[in-house]
């Protein structure tokens, strides 16, 4: 419980570490880099979030879960603001978040310049298999089980896996 007079942005950031991505529950909204700012004016807490993809169905649930955790901690005046610009990028994902993804079996995004381009039938970049660590993998589809992922398969251990694609 946070006493209203003791609300600080730092405490809110800490609390939000408990809010998980509903689709990839090992990473928090902090790990994903979608919390852009926290403003406290008197006893009102404003959380500014940036959606990952325009149509990501997880965003509504994330907003609700943020509200829930703040309410559970006796914060009553909550405002959740969506900021579209600057657009979210996987560069904002924390190193810790990337490690958690890999441990969960999802290949984390590589640095942006490698894939975000319009060239067709591009040479597939080396995505590391989260299971056996081989770089000998191939793209199955640019679109995977959720908007944020592509589908890959490892040529060595044959594991099919999701790749959290760069954005």
């Amino acid at each position: 419980m946070i006493q209203p007079e003791n609300i600080t942005a730092e405490k809110i950031w800490k609390l939000l570490e408990q809010v998980a991505d509903p689709e990839v529950p090992v990473v928090s909204v902090i790990d994903l880099g979608i919390i852009r700012d926290i403003n406290i004016i008197d006893d009102q807490v404003e959380v500014i979030i940036t959606p990952t993809y325009s149509g990501c169905p997880a965003m509504d649930m994330i907003k609700m879960n943020i509200r829930m955790i703040l309410l559970q901690n006796a914060i009553q005046h909550i405002k959740i603001t969506t900021a579209l610009s600057p657009a979210w990028t996987t560069d904002w994902m924390s190193e810790q978040g990337k490690e958690k993804l890999k441990a969960f079996g999802i290949a984390p995004p590589t640095i942006k310049q490698q894939v975000c381009r319009t060239a067709l039938f591009h040479d597939e970049e080396a995505i590391q298999c989260p299971k056996c660590n081989s770089y000998n993998t191939r793209l199955i589809s640019q679109f995977g089980s959720t908007a944020c992922k592509a589908l890959y398969q490892c040529n060595d251990c044959c594991e099919p896996f999701d790749y959290f694609k760069c954005h």
Binding site: Y53, S54, G55, S85, T118, A119, F121, Q142, F143
Partner: protein, 256 residues
Amino acid sequence: MKNLINYTLHLADNALILGHRNSEWTGHGPILEQDIAISNIALDLIGQARNFYQYAAQLINYSTHQPINTATEDTLAYLRNTNEFKNCLLVEQTNGDWAKTILRQFFFSAYQFYLYQQLQNSNDETLAAIAEKSLKEVTYHLRWSSEWVIRLGDGTEESHSKMIKAIDDLWMFTGEIFEAASYEKIAAGKGFRIDVSLIKNNWLQKVKDIFDEATLGVPQNSSMRSGGKEGKHTKLLGNIFNEMQFMQRTYPNCDW
């Protein structure tokens, strides 16, 4: 204000209707991976539509001084009639076979790609932000659909002939995209920094490049059909509404 609202609705309607058409493939795609791909593209487009509708609703409520928010993203999507929709005719065309769906997506994604490139520099901050966000998604759509046009055009005899049929069916709807509607002309003049003729040139070049690689020819001198942007639609839009708007009209305010 009225032109800004109409322009925003036009952007929203284009994205919603194509998103809805693509969603008809969900569960019916030719193979699982491509079923997932077209469904993901549908999701992106409907997400973009939501952002535009939310902005349009905000503008409508502000301009009509409503005490409560009468317009919402849902009323705009589910409770307007066909003659109020401002989408271009291309996006309401039926899915047909995979070739036709691919070609429709390619034509539209190439257009959206160049449009959003310009719109992200618009002096309207909200439209610019939505464009900046959406452009990243459209980049994937354009690459995916371009690759498929090449794969089918330069594929087997059968896939090639299906692409030619798709061009015959859809080319007549491409002219309208670049014919500025009244609200587009005024919106452009107000500093949205949208140069439709530049978008058209970029689009044509893209189509030529991809068609060349796909061993397909760009049609010359064919007559074009238009009207959608001004609310004059084919009966196909009504068919979409029979499904898309049915729940809200039959059970007003239903939620799930």
